[in-house]
Amino acid sequence: MASNEIIKLKNISISFDDEQIINNMNLYIRDKEFITFLGPSGCGKTTTLRIIAGFLQPDSGEVIFDGKVINDLPPHKRQLNTIFQRYALFPHLNVYENIAFGLRLRKISEKEIKETVTEMLSLVNLKGFERRNISSLSGGQQQRVAIARALAVKPKILLLDEPLGALDLKLRKDMQVELKNIQKRLGITFIYVTHDQEEALSMSDTIVVMNGGKIQQIGTPLDIYNEPKNAFVADFIGESNIIEGVMRADFWVEMAGNKFKCLDKGFGVDEDVDVVVRPEDVDIVPVEDAMISGKVTSITFKGVHYEIIVEIKGFKWMIQSTDYQEVGSTIGLVIEPDAIHIMKKSEYSGLYGDYSSFSEEFDELSDATIDEEE
């Protein structure tokens, strides 16, 4: 157990209207780290955040802050602040008064308030916006005011609930960098909630992948990407081909009618497993040099590379390559041992990682839905 843990969730469960939202969750969060709850809508990530903030009481379990149980502590007494999905700026107050709001409650002198507000405004690059109306600000500017308002009261932890969800792509990328910089500069803990895997990978020190009210995997972005624990994680983070395989021996897996060398061991002999192969890790070679071969069923230009769907023994693989391939042609593939990742069978086996029903539109639609889990 880490000595510098600041938040600990112990056996947390909560349900609304008989629907279990969080199921016996255990988690600790270290001081000064950037931790992200990542998962699809309805996975319980926002609920977890609201439990930490104090807006929800868990049905059972303990929320521990700095070694003390804070279950019964109301939100206004907790030393942590939240950035809300839609910012929740006070429309009847201007930018200055919004940022000063929390400070005024703490009976701080007007001079100090002014100093802090000025400092916060410069931190979020909004110098000179003091007297502006909230309604006259753009989404990105409102976002910055929300951050300044929360940071002005010097919280130990900042909770961010899909803060960039309402911004357009370009602005979102800029804000990702800026948020990460602010977190490093202030050295406080950020607990971040998102359904955007790319956002999670690029910003976090630690990612908590959630689904169905349960933690699926905790790890660094690299761990999560390279060593997904189950088919859900593998599919949710990045693109994956997930193939059913059998572990014939340590370092040997059989899939798609062929035996492959891999780096995984410790499985039972002839144990059924899920095999993850990332699309960018597959090399296209002439058929005669190939380990396996298949027919190209579609090809899409993606800018950096082509996305090629190849049918191999009835299973559709996605492969990313910079070379164009003719639809209908047969191509050969090579998969290096370090490109293969073996996972134990789980409840998610067989649900993900097949591109036979793959459609660009579906993917984007599900990305665009903003999650409102409550």
Partner: protein, 277 residues
Amino acid sequence: MKKKSLFSKIYPILVFGFLYAPIAVLILFSFNAGKSTAIFEGFSLRWYEEVFRDTATLEAFKNTVIVAVVSAIISTVMGTAAAIAINNYKLKWFKQATLTTTNIPMMNPDIVTGISMMLLFVFISALFGKTGTLGFTTLTIAHVTFELPYVILNVLPKLRQTDIHLSEAAQDLGCTPIQSFFKVVLPQIMPGILSGLMMAFTLSVDDFIISYFVSGTTSQTLPIRIFSMTKKRVTPDMYALSTLIFLAILVLLVISNIITAKSENKKHKQGSKKGGA
């Protein structure tokens, strides 16, 4: 298209002509030199002088204002509190029952509301063996009762529109729940409360039917006074009084419209200043 726009120009003029014809007649005859409200005998201001000499009318005017102010304040405070509570009720049937009850005075014909309250007051006073209970108190109670639904229905939508996260954000920043209500929620629902208050006041000033049944003889309001006068032949002094009230309202409305137009203009200008995304 051309033809239609001609219709859309003329039609409103016709309807407004219809709406304002009796008012024009009323204002015209308030300046009548004669006593008639039908034959104009020349211009005079005598009826305006008459208004200020008629103590019964002035008394009725005073009563109207007092009842309107008192009942509007009571109904606004109680109604706002009720709206907040209703908004927080979790029991579906209880919430629905409360809302349905609230709708009754709006749906019921005024005459039924009036006599039902009259019967209650008469019944209660009979229980205590008293007579002549109808008066200022019963009048105020009745006014509060029929104003309440309008206050509630003005405040409730504002509460629903208010982002629940605003109150959470305030608590997040250190407000107690009560502080967060006064600092954040109240300013958001203020427009609803004010329009509820205005509506309550207007309804109270305007009400005749309900007041007619619950006011008794001691506390006449202006509409009741007018009613008793229209039983006989009306003299133009009533017209003069209405004209004065009408003009006062007109001026108030124009001023408030100018003020809101100005503040909106200001907002608009600020709004257009905002940069790209």
